[in-house]
Symmetry: C2
Subunit: 458 residues, 2 copies
């Protein structure tokens, strides 16, 4: 699909490195017919549009009011099928939460009308919240999983879509019948995505053993083999909850640790995304680092289900690659902006015992939500920041027209209030702490406009 | 001011006791000319309006779509003057945060135009978030503090408005000149409120020593005397941060504890609101209980500033009275709904070390935000729940028209998605976890409509 060449003009903010926020108050991007950033100018203040050859007739999109362009968020762990349960978990913890809330809902995805309704909602909603890339868990069902892939493709969200594999310790009414059927069904979902997106350009399949307790040794080994023969990436859960870790110890007596279970199955590779990683030992972290597997940190979920506090600073210091995941519906929110705030807050709780140096700054948490996530999904050369040659996966952030100056509230402009005199760092902090989807005016993936708010037409 | 008699029809939810949520799917309230609840009916399903004598011509307000009436929130601790800094605190902790962010902003309230702009915003914003009662800290300035009282009065928010007293350990440019001037200025603010609201019916003054470190022994004693002679309530901070507690130990060598400092000054009474109470000892809690002083729990702030986790379950079990406070701008949000979520989340972090029984449920956190807060401000007979004879301080909560059923997003309806089949408890949990000001369609205080959204006219 060829796009209209477009020049985007206005302030932009992105993460230069883990702790450096790059703010450009007078920026300009040229985005070409393939949705790639062709050029970047950093000083457009008061100047006429430069006459880039071949760009004279390009469309122009400007930040009209207080706001900036920011890279799209990358949600490295979200259960699309659990979206209707967001916020509903009571006082449960992981293992009873699965049986009480999760399996009954997921098992209902044999109903494709219901699946269509829920999957359309979650893709539309997360796009409206600036999530340009999502790593989705679907359910065990082939048809519904393929439908999710179709919806991502048609709505234009970059996605990894995983059929969930689980052949034991699950309810009778909801599990794979056998290792063979698990592999056959996973292959069917891979084949479907190949058909709709042959080069996995926007949508990619992802091999998805639910987590070690719900997979037999044989299933894990077969999925490891599938991973190696197809080259398709993997995602799973690890070390979320202490009772779960004890269960893994009992179920896999031959493995030294939870991490070793995946390693023995050939699943611990650079293309594996491990969600949670709350209680990893030093030895496990070293193994993960050596295998170059990736970590999806899910702070909202880990707090909601009382799982624990992942030691993000330690993982970063040791050289692990970390991104953020909303983990809907263990996490209550589908918003990566809220998740960014939760990452900062969990780091404060870690700091209460482990010391101030473990705190994540606003810039660091935003890095995890963008550049970090890009590395987790193996697309750091294409998304997560603004560089020439990268894809235009971006959101237009707006604070309205300086709401703090007026007496009347415009609730549609959101809750961020700019009173004047705020530094750029303050504005970004206000967005992270008090912003929501109302501040995301428009969203692009690979240069395509995939969401805009209300009547706003960029 | 006489109001139009009004009948409110629709589901309602309020807290019966700490852990009982009372849900009435088919309710009706009659609210009289004084804004008081005259009658409640619990079974209106499919019936014609009963002909209560004298109510035949009353105005009728109905919940039109998915939603319910809920008591207004009571924010027991919020710094109105710090509102422009919401979300801006970096990695600071209490004592450096005060010097870096807070004192420079507060000191600027000599500028009454600026004060008017900020105070109008914070009152309008918190009303739009369902806060019908707020315990405000203003600044040391008499004129600006009186302006805040005027704004609360004219916008119709029930409020306790405190001129901040601080005569030492504060910047030269921002403190009371002497004990005498502190008392004189505090008295001037009390006199002003007496003039605009003689019986403190909507707006009340509140004596406000900032916190022990910034008040001399003499100032505290004089404020204690003012408290006893005027009967005006008090508010202050206590035991928020470990460095602060150490400082209090050094500054008040004669006092056994932080709590004893206030007790010696005659400030520890049933009309004292103590914010934070993060690190209280058992002995201090017992003294607070014996004196019947009240606690304002500020979870968002305590996490943001890495102050610690207040042990709410312990305080409740010991019989202390606890409400919630946003503590803007130590807290990032002016929303009591967000604060309710934060209270649940902080209780999860407490549970990670102290055990599952310390967890707060959704119902319990909502109790703290309503009934608990009412007790904290001494108005439990008038607000915090729906009972005949109580004031109609209420919010109309709406989830739109069943957004989960549709493909298109109506962002103005907010983020709560009802897919059908949710229990009432699930709906309330979804509101707490995924709701925001967009779900608060209208707000009443003492029967007066003080906020309604956009073009909505109840």
């Amino acid at each position: 699909m060829s796009l209209e060449k477009t020049i985007y003009i206005g302030p932009f903010v992105h993460c230069e490195s883990l702790n450096e926020l790059d703010v450009c108050p007078n920026g300009m991007f040229g985005v070409d017919e393939d949705g790639k950033i062709a050029f970047i100018s950093r000083d457009m203040k008061g100047r006429p549009l430069p006459a880039h050859q071949g760009w004279e007739n390009a469309k122009v999109v400007r930040i009209q009011d207080y706001g900036f362009f920011f890279p799209g968020f990358i949600d490295t762990h979200i259960h699309a099928s659990q979206y209707p349960n967001a916020g509903v978990f009571g006082k449960s913890t992981l293992l009873d939460w699965l049986n009480t809330y999760t399996f009954p809902l997921e098992s209902s995805f044999t109903d494709l009308d219901k699946a269509a309704r829920i999957y359309n909602r979650v893709v539309a909603r997360t796009l409206s919240q600036g999530t340009t890339t999502a790593c989705y868990y679907a359910t065990v069902h082939v048809a519904a999983t393929n439908l999710l892939a179709d919806i991502c493709q048609s709505r234009g969200q970059r996605a990894f879509v995983g059929r969930v594999c689980m052949d034991r310790l699950s309810p009778d009414y909801y599990q794979d019948e056998s290792v063979e059927s698990a592999i056959r069904d996973s292959q069917a979902c891979i084949d479907h995505v190949k058909k709709i997106d042959p080069y996995f350009d926007l949508v990619s399949p992802i091999i998805t053993p639910r987590f070690a307790p719900s997979c037999s040794d044989e299933a894990l080994a077969a999925l490891g083999k599938l991973h190696h023969t197809t080259g398709v990436p993997c995602q799973t859960h690890i070390s979320e909850n202490k009772a779960e870790i004890q269960l893994v110890r009992e179920l896999f007596p031959k493995s030294q640790s939870y991490t070793h279970v995946y390693d023995r199955a050939g699943l611990l590779t650079p293309k594996m995304i491990l969600a949670h990683a709350v209680h990893l030992t030093k030895e496990e972290r070293t193994l993960i680092k050596n295998r170059q597997a990736k970590i999806s940190h899910c702070p909202a979920s880990n707090t909601a289900l009382t799982s624990g506090t992942a030691k993000v600073r330690t993982m970063l210091d040791e050289g692990l690659t970390v991104g953020l995941g909303t983990d809907v519906s263990g996490g209550y929110t589908s918003s990566m902006l809220a998740e960014t705030r939760e990452a900062i807050f969990v780091s404060r709780h870690v700091a209460m015992t482990d010391g101030d140096e473990t705190k994540l700054s606003v810039a660091e948490a935003l890095y995890l939500a963008t550049r970090g996530g890009a590395k987790v999904v193996g697309l750091e050369d294409r998304i997560g920041g603004f560089e020439v040659g990268m894809d235009w996966d971006a959101q237009m952030i707006s604070f309205g027209d300086g709401v703090g100056d007026k007496l009347g509230l415009d609730q549609s402009a959101g809750l961020v209030e700019i009173f004047g005199g705020e530094s750029w760092e303050d504005k970004v902090a206000k967005w992270v702490y008090t912003g929501d989807d109302r501040n995301t005016k428009a969203v692009w993936v690979k240069g395509r406009l995939v969401h805009s708010q209300g009547n706003f037409k960029p």
